[in-house]
């Protein structure tokens, strides 16, 4: 059911864990399946003085595909400018993983949402202009998160 590449990233996920120093977090969950993903970014600057994702990591409570897409989206985003990173599509993540079963496509969406959300939070805290696509995704994430907080309140209180 899963491609070799998915299994590979599931078994040896890249960029897992929590960054010691991060600029922002993106927290997302999928209310249908119940999976949760937190994505951490550290923003730096490149030679052209553009803001880039200098470092990135994730923590995921979810299925094989959720873990593999967490790994892959962070691989793709690492080193990209914020603008480039914000433009990453879930299809790219899924394709790079050799495809996902149809029922698991939403896992790649979750990964992209987590990334967008982290960038959104970063820009918002800084008071920068936020690209339209991020605003849209944020609205969607926010809607789901309320329901989620209730469901996972028992877990949330135990995390920091």
């Amino acid at each position: 059911m899963y491609s070799e590449k998915v299994i590979e990233h599931f078994r040896n996920p890249h960029n897992k864990g929590r960054l010691e120093k991060y600029s922002a977090i993106g927290k997302v969950g999928n209310i249908a399946c119940g999976d949760v993903m937190w994505l951490y970014i550290k923003v730096g600057r490149n030679a052209n003085d553009e803001e880039i994702i200098e470092d990135i990591s994730w923590e995921t409570f979810g299925c094989t595909a959720a873990i593999a897409t967490s790994s892959m989206v962070t691989e793709i985003a690492k080193g990209k400018t914020l603008k480039e990173a914000a433009a990453i599509q879930n299809k790219e993540v899924a394709d790079t993983l050799g495809g996902l079963p149809p029922v698991k496509m939403h896992c790649s969406l979750l990964a992209v949402d987590a990334l967008s959300e982290a960038i959104y939070n970063y820009l918002q805290a800084k008071g920068d202009v936020i690209p339209e696509v991020l605003v849209k995704r944020h609205a969607h994430v926010e809607k789901e998160s309320k329901e989620f907080d209730e469901r996972y309140s028992s877990l949330m209180s135990k995390s920091n």
């Binding site: 299994i7 999976d35 135990k158």
Partner: protein, 384 residues
């Protein structure tokens, strides 16, 4: 591959050597059609009837009460739909919220055909309350169908009590005994219909049976040449039937010894696994089917857990939403009141005839590591 540990015997089991041996002649030597007049046919017929007698004996039933089918799903369908359309003017069915889909989905379908169905709730261990069941029986109740032992959590229902109530009230009682038959002694005194299958008992896939008490009329699902007393047309799967009977013979001969051994494993599994922080046993602590243990782990997801264990050559299963085609968590876990977040992290471990102590020990050293690994990458930290 020899290092693999198969702990998914509730899904299916390996076929025993003795069973394969018993089946072998019926492919190339005794390949007759049991309906034929010639000697090939007669020998096939005799083999089938001997097998039928063996299954009947295991249920203290008579031969004519055993109907062969191609699966237990078919047997469940035949029992429920067959009775529903048998011409009795009663349109109410009682079942539970934790049935196998081959009962649950049939009931849902019958609702669309105009039947009324009561889905009885279960308690935290997954038990139906016989008093509650008795209270829902009406003059219109045609059938009560309650599974003997649950395939996900192992809970064994108070079947003799339930069957007795049904008998007193004149309601037909069916039980899906797929997981219980051949594993524990069954109380069948007032049971009218019972479904079972070979492949959960180290027999072949593709053969099941319905025990049908004499005097109960069913409408067949499959019409044709009139096999199985007109209840299930189609040339009989002689090899499969012979294999089924052999598997049952072994299961009943070994039942006590195997049950003790598997109960020992279950004890050890529960003790060791629930010692891991933030875990919970789903189902009965005592009195459960011996081969099924279901435990939830907080903050990790079941499909990942199954896949991680698979990496170590260990086969298990889960009731997590992520593993189901429609992203719904197990209806059984929800029915026993498991919070969604715990249903998300459920693991079913099911042992069998071939499971060894060494395998259980090895599984129990690997499992905590895997749980730890997955908890490490979870955003929710378990305070230990």
């Amino acid at each position: 591959m020899n290092n693999d540990i198969y702990l998914d015997n509730s899904a299916t089991t390996p076929v025993s050597e003795e069973v394969i041996e018993a089946m072998l002649p019926y492919w190339q030597v005794e390949y007759g059609n049991a309906s034929s007049l010639h000697s090939f046919g007669r020998r096939a017929h005799i083999a089938m009837e001997e097998s039928r007698a063996r299954l009947a004996a295991s249920l203290s039933a008579s031969e004519r009460e055993i109907i062969f089918t191609a699966s237990a799903s078919e047997a469940n369908n035949l029992a429920i739909k067959g009775l529903a359309f048998s011409g009795i003017n009663k349109y109410h069915i009682i079942t539970s919220q934790i049935e196998h889909p081959s009962v649950g989905k049939v009931c849902q379908w019958l609702e669309k055909q105009g039947f009324t169905v009561t889905y009885l709730p279960v308690d935290q261990e997954g038990m139906v309350d016989p008093d509650e069941l008795a209270a829902t029986i009406t003059d219109d109740t045609l059938l009560v169908t309650i599974m003997y032992g649950n395939n996900e959590i192992g809970t064994v229902q108070p079947i003799s009590q339930i069957a007795e109530i049904c008998r007193e009230q004149g309601v037909i009682f069916h039980t899906d005994a797929v997981q219980a038959y051949g594993k524990i002694p069954l109380a069948l005194e007032n049971v009218d219909m019972l479904s079972a299958t070979a492949h959960k008992l180290h027999g072949p896939k593709g053969v099941g049976m319905l025990y049908l008490r004499r005097g109960i009329k069913l409408s067949p699902l499959i019409h044709g040449g009139g096999h199985e007393r007109g209840l299930r047309s189609g040339t009989e799967n002689i090899a499969g039937i012979v294999g089924f009977a052999k598997a049952v013979e072994i299961a009943f001969a070994e039942m006590e010894v195997l049950r003790d051994r598997l109960e020992g494993f279950r004890e050890q599994l529960i003790e060791t696994i629930t010692a891991i922080p933030k875990t919970k046993l789903n189902g009965q602590r005592k009195g459960s089917l011996p081969h099924i243990t279901n435990i939830s782990f907080m903050a990790i997801e079941g499909e990942s857990l199954v896949m991680k264990l698979d990496e170590h050559g260990i086969a298990t299963s889960t009731g997590s939403a992520c593993s189901s085609p429609n992203l719904e968590p197990s209806h059984v876990l929800l029915a026993i009141g498991t919070p969604i977040v715990m249903a998300h992290g459920s693991l079913r471990i099911s042992t069998g005839r071939r499971t060894t102590q060494e395998e259980i020990d090895r599984f129990l050293t690997i499992l905590p590591q895997v749980v730890e690994e997955l908890r490490e990458i979870s955003p929710f930290k378990i305070n230990t």
